[in-house]
Symmetry: C2
Subunit: 309 residues, 2 copies
């Protein structure tokens, strides 16, 4: 029997402009990327989210074909799906949000269907801390692992509610600037220590093209990002990372630090696929063969032979 | 018999201000850091440089005690030693040069004593490309490996002379911004390809707190920097890296890509020592015991267990 991953997050339509091209309306959203990424692993995977009446049947079908349970996705009649529009600068390392239309997300009250209330692992995608909190309250058991993603917006405007969520999760996954903002510490080692005091036993700090750091109990693991010739569209990289991380952990059912290190490598591999194409294209056409090649690349990238006394 | 490392570079006095403190006159210079770092390995090591009459005998004695041959260091009577003054911003990732007094460096004409003209490895520290070129011309044999460090200033003002030097070296070691400036490519993978076309078979791109990348023949190795609680003074980190890298290669006499990967780890370890104290203090008080601990930390930081088919 498969282990169960429950994903709470946004489903969206995005408009994206990068130096390489422009799309006006493309499938997006944290839960979409997380789900597409996680569903590459052997698991039972479900999404809790909300969309409008405009959300296309072909996109629901696409996610269902990947084996994702969408019974927890509310479709608001007469409502419009969350829309995000962003433009990347030339270096692709910084982006500007052009427009955010919350639409149906504004009054989202997550309802977890009964059969999804006993997940092994929960992935809270970047979303209002209030929705994240309400989702956690509906669980029947304490899951093996609860993973939280969030962003600077929630830190600035909803800090106290966010702190309540942070206190309830086992692992937080944020980027370096967010870790600094959350703690006021420039050193990421110190930032991780401070975040640990807020609750999470495990902290992942994502550094984009510089990889990611996993902290636990004074141990640190450092995964590089795969050096790529060309980054085409960074949208969804962090969510694909989260999906690969929780997908691998759910498949293996092993949340030891040792296995989390492997999960970070799978996560980085999934992120590297995503940024090579526009939007969700790479994830949709993903093959496990290319994963083997990418894992080999990570091994070569990081392995060195030094005998230590 | 030991292998021979020849270092060409500056010896200086520095004034440094960081958020943690301020020093008015402290031993510095690329060749000084490279020499102190390299001399931790088993090798014959010599410096080609120039100082003024003000250079203190205690500092010459300090370098000699580390086994560094200073017969190629010219002492200009009546001259003043190269002086650099810099101030680090709060994040310690950016610095401002407050003052540069070239002094005796301005008319430096490097003369390599006869017994130093057959080195196994040459390390050209950051310095005028003209001096670097003149030093290479005096070698009697082609060394096993010539390593070049340089900076944006020489790229902007002395590009054609710099290109002549680059064409003659086997490995170039620069930071990410310099690699981008040298090639006009944002992607470091593409930048490394372009630099390869200029001559060097091996390219190291240093990324400060994000570690370093080693490129050769479509292979890439990625070494993290050791995540540190506190960086006290980043001055000399790149030079300590260069000294550790060339020191380890000179000791082992093995310039295979496989061994270069180990050398990058030793290099990162030396850099991590340097930034924990002001100026050269850590290098002067270095113990091989702490190296073992640091190598262990690098192993733990990078090792993961994934079986690859």
């Amino acid at each position: 029997m498969n282990n169960k991953l429950l994903i709470v997050g946004t489903m969206a339509y995005d408009a994206i402009e990068t130096p390489f091209g422009k799309v006006d309306k493309i499938l997006g959203g944290a839960a979409t990327y997380i789900g597409l990424s996680a569903s590459q692993f052997s698991l039972d995977c479900a999404i809790i989210s909300v969309v409008g009446e405009d959300f296309e049947e072909q996109h629901l079908e696409l996610l269902r074909r990947k084996g994702i349970d969408l019974s927890g996705v509310e479709i608001v009649s007469g409502g419009e799906t969350f829309f995000w529009s962003g433009k990347y600068h030339n270096d692709l390392n910084t982006r500007m949000t052009m427009e955010t239309r919350l639409n149906v997300l504004e009054n989202f009250n997550p309802i977890i269907p009964d059969h999804l209330r006993t997940p092994d692992i929960v992935m809270l995608g970047n979303l209002s801390p209030d929705v994240q909190f309400k989702a956690l309250e509906q669980l029947k058991n304490k899951p093996k692992l609860i993973v939280l993603d969030t962003m600077n917006f929630w830190m600035e405007h909803f800090r106290s509610r966010l702190d309540e969520v942070i206190a309830k999760v086992d692992l937080i996954s944020i980027n370096d600037e967010e870790a600094r903002q959350l703690t006021g510490e420039y050193s990421l080692v110190k930032a991780a220590e401070k975040i640990h005091e807020l609750g999470p036993q495990y902290i992942i700090i994502k550094k984009g093209e510089h990889g990611a750091l996993l902290f636990h109990d004074s141990k640190i693991f450092c995964a590089p990002a795969l050096p790529l010739e060309e980054v085409f569209d960074p949208t969804g990289a962090g969510d694909s990372f989260a999906g690969g991380f929780t997908g691998y952990l759910t498949q293996t059912g092993d949340i030891s630090f040792r296995n989390m290190k492997s999960a970070v490598i799978y996560a980085s591999a999934m992120a590297s696929f995503t940024v090579e194409k526009f939007g969700t294209e790479s994830l949709i056409n993903y093959s496990s063969h290319s994963m083997d090649n990418r894992l080999k690349a990570f091994k070569e990238l990081t392995t060195f032979d030094i005998e230590i006394q």
